[in-house]
Symmetry: C3
Subunit: 291 residues, 3 copies
């Protein structure tokens, strides 16, 4: 557990360092980027990725790019066999896609942004590493997608936190691969109802319906994730990876096959006047809520 | 709830009116056909379709044709966003396909009948409106298909009512799109067992296995449906409709692709001497039960 | 229940008889082969297949061949409508594939062995008969595959018995059709976790997750299977068989389409030096455990 206590300690000191790699000690290399803090404990072979992009870990183009690069580095690191994904921002895991990337920008920008969203998911869903989401805050929309793309989900049993694909509540639509990922987790019927209503589940409802696998008190989320990780790492990597791939490949292939048309769909959707208008309204309401 | 109390009141007075459209008041147009009473409350945008073809709301060719026409009219009515499907006949939602349409008729008739069964399902399963089944009576076979084709199911918690695809108990077989629809609702395993045994579930078992979403006292079924409807209508139509279509299109496409062969299968099955004989025997037993 | 008590009585006397068919009495023909005892009670139309290949009913080439032949004989016997699959060896249903068939043999042998594994599954999963697994002992790996390929599973509620596809724990991988079969039983998510971790479920966990359908005290497993069998046999065969085929054909077709490449995959996997080495080590550990 040393890695966890150290991370909790170092995070404020590190602040928003921009270097791509920094070694605090010989045994605990820490990578601190703008949006995500990555610490790999080499002896154990487990990295913790802490999203730290206040106020709500929005998935901006910048964030997504950094996420994909960080994950790819770990993927190629033979010393890393598992990743715990969590948040360094209190009360929020991730609020999902950054609406600022979808408003008042060019079609080219929207396309680039959407490709980055796809890339994040492709990398996470097909990761050969064991991936565990330590959900220590609210987890709507794209945040929920990240969580259900992991191998296992542990959520803080805080009644204020919820998780779900709530896109329709904002008048937008989760793309087919969000749908596939959640359907692989909770089944067809629960997905149909969940997506149509844009349901956000309380932690206890999320456990009942199977969006998360386990609830623990908030302060124990990281410890529980580490404990679960060691169970998963007890399985020979090769056999586990083939089994995982067998389950996920058809879903991954569906996006790979339709990747360009999916981008086009997004661009033509988001450039609609009506959608721009409602996203603008929504952004204004968010600003006023803060103010 | 005004629409509900008014419907309960007007239904006997209207009787079996044959006109295709009749306005009782400016705000509450009511369509009363032979088999189905349709009332649309325009302010709310919700229609109630009450099946009223005693004794058991059998899905005859006549009934099915009227059902598809009524639903299409509502579909094309911009004032209608949701439909509650229920029964005006006590103790029965619908007994399913009318066996009289499958006995002693010509191959042409069987083909026409089956196409009408398909059409009813295609229209209901792909409806852009919110569809809620208010199951206030027994709901076997084709009645169950109608219910599971809706977006949400509320059933009266009356221990005498049951629901399920019980075809095999009569020696017949639910077609593949019945199977797909129920599997989308309760999953592969429960479907396999359910279809092979022709299981009819009590209301409480139906809730456990997920064939229905909610149980309420019998007198509250319509009120509960109206309450649920308003939750669903709180979601922007466009986003909800795309989400629904994303979930259901593959299942719909499967029948559209195999529609003609499915008709041929039905005709060649039902024209078998052995099947005709057992359907005749079954019809006789039904007559004697009544007498 | 006469068939069951008689079988329990005759099994020791019969021992390892090699004749292909022996009639104990006019009404109870018993087939005693090397590995499997088959008794068909003709009046009822139910056969009991008792695996009796100590110490652990390993699925050797010999065992699998006999299994497929025995099942095919029953399939072609119009007097047999249902099969109860159980074990005559205390404390074990079946330990799964015989590792001896995968060690130190020729590529030709591995191919022949794997084809026999496929054949066993194809015959069992597509059987027109009602198939019920009476799981009266441990049921890992290939034993679990046999069980989940039946129509219904009753397990002894003995806390020492477990069931599951634990292949990854041995560093090997369940092939795609094992995966399909278990996913058809417990759904995508439970399968993903189950396969990656090689989970073995206690009887009570197996019931919760749906790998088995029912738990009964150990001494009542066969009686419960016979009682369930009579419920299933109350359904007309023809309708039940079409319903079963409708559910299982796509899964069966997937292996039939990829049968040769699946064999090649297995052979090239099992002939790897690293795999041979770990299988040898595992075999040694098994021997030492006994000694």
């Amino acid at each position: 557990m040393m890695i966890l206590s150290r991370l909790l300690g170092c995070q404020e000191q590190l602040g928003f360092l921009h270097q791509s790699k920094e070694e605090l000690t010989d045994s605990h290399p820490v990578v601190c980027n703008r949006n995500i803090l990555v610490e790999l404990e080499e002896g154990v072979g487990v990295a913790v990725m802490k999203m730290k992009s206040p106020p709500v870990n929005s998935l901006s183009l910048d964030f997504l790019t950094e996420f994909s690069i960080s994950l790819e580095k770990l993927e190629n690191d033979r010393g890393c066999r598992g990743v715990i994904l969590t948040s360094a921002v209190p009360k929020i895991f991730s609020a999902g896609l950054d609406i600022k990337e979808m408003c008042g920008k060019s079609a080219e920008h929207y396309a680039e942004f959407w490709r980055a969203v796809q890339e994040m998911w492709l990398k996470l869903y097909k990761s050969n590493m064991v991936t565990i989401a330590a959900i220590n805050g609210n987890c709507p929309a794209g945040g929920c997608l990240m969580a259900v793309s992991c191998d296992y989900r542990i959520m803080a049993e805080n009644p204020k936190y919820s998780i779900g694909l709530n896109e329709t509540q904002l008048g937008i639509v989760a793309p087919f691969w969000f749908k596939d990922t959640i359907a692989n987790t909770i089944g067809h019927r629960a997905t149909e109802r969940s997506l149509q209503l844009g349901l956000l589940y309380s932690a206890s409802d999320a456990l009942k319906i199977g969006i998360v696998d386990e609830l623990v008190p908030e302060e124990k989320v990281l410890n529980a994730a580490a404990a679960t990780m060691s169970q998963w790492l007890a399985i020979p990597d090769y056999a586990r990876q083939i089994s995982k791939s067998m389950m996920r490949k058809p879903t991954l292939d569906r996006l790979l096959t339709h990747r360009e048309s999916d981008i086009q769909n997004f661009v033509s959707f988001v450039t609609k006047d009506s959608i721009q208008k409602s996203l603008q309204t929504y952004m204004e309401s968010l600003k006023q809520r803060k103010g």
